[in-house]
Symmetry: C2
Subunit: 186 residues, 2 copies
DNA sequence: CCAAGTATGAAACTCAGTGTTAGAGTAGAC
DNA sequence: GTCTACTCTAACACTGAGTTTCATACTTGG
């Protein structure tokens, strides 16, 4: 049901624009009452962004699976392959979704908020990686945040290029801009 | 007038809590009409967050003033001294403000949005630093974003410590976690 | 004095989001 | 079978944000 409602919302938002569509419209289109719609999704935005819910958990889980010997930055980069895979598997709708989110201020804001919520979990995952029980430090938190920024910046460019640029390559480029091998110039 | 309204709002939010206070309450407390209040600030949140408006511009300006020979990461770190100075000059109210923002989901979200808006300007400043006309690349954007994360993480810890930890030191620590000298471990 | 712009206020409106209540369907206990 | 408890849904009322429209001062330059 949740999935169906989410799909209806996505379609309607694409067709009419996020602001034009009211919660009532969504409910009608999905054949449920306004109340029901709002019980499934706390807000209009959530109906779209629920599609990203899995990403945060997946990346954190992927980080935990990286070998303990690996440095944090590499572990984060590799963990993001999970997300990249998602975009590669269905570039069409991924592009439409990303575009919708970036072009709608309300959605963009909510997604920032959502990703902000991933940060502690990601830092925690870094700390607990491979059984080691490191404390969550400033350094780990900053790296988690920076990795998410890399993803976002790469996605921005990927979307701006209509999906023509290679997401993998953009992400590598973004990570290289901050890594230990970067000279932080140019 | 704007400054006065903002002050009234800040005080009332601190005293009663952001959600409890309606725009009508703010207007009454400030002795203006609801309409007037909402014409000065597009939203309730903006009445508080307008205090941060200068920061974005200041950091970008500070980046432009850094020597061209300096690497990006150092330039960003030094540019953030402008913001740090703001917190050092009035730690009391800065702490109260930061706490209010972090503890109020609506405010936190809006501030993320606001800082997100700084990113392009900051990347642009990096690119144009000291007259050089470099294009805005993925690398520059990522560094700008990461620097803002460093500020946020440092502020989080500073706030959590009731202002007892040294903000300057926390920021250095955050920057060191990503810099060229970092081994990205621990 | 006048005219044009500007700051304010009043009121009506749309819509998001919350809470409450009540009915319909379902599953298990006995 | 039926009573009970639980869940899903609809209907409805309510608060409050934010927008728009219109009217009324209050400047300020000519």
């Amino acid at each position: 049901m949740r999935a169906r409602l989410s799909q209806v919302a996505f379609d309607l938002f694409l067709r009419e624009g996020f602001e034009k569509v009211t919660v009532g419209d969504l409910a009608t289109a999905a054949g449920v009452s306004r109340s029901t719609f709002l019980r499934y999704f706390g807000s209009k935005e959530e109906a779209v962004l629920t599609a990203f819910d899995a990403h945060g958990r997946q990346v954190a889980a992927a980080v935990r699976d990286r070998p303990a010997a690996e440095d944090d930055w590499t572990a984060l980069r590799r963990a993001l392959d999970a997300v990249v895979g998602h975009y590669r598997s269905d570039p069409e709708s991924a592009l439409a979704m990303t575009r919708l989110v970036r072009e709608t201020p309300a959605l963009c804001a909510r997604q920032l908020e959502k990703q902000h919520g991933w940060r502690p979990a990601l830092a925690q995952a870094l700390a607990e990686r491979a059984g080691s029980a490191r404390p969550v430090t400033v350094a780990l938190t900053v790296r988690a945040a920076a990795a998410l920024d890399c993803l976002n910046v790469a996605l921005d460019h990927w979307t701006a290029s209509d999906g023509r640029l290679d997401l993998e390559g953009l992400l590598d480029e973004a990570f290289a801009a901050l890594g230990p091998d970067s000279r932080m110039v140019g």
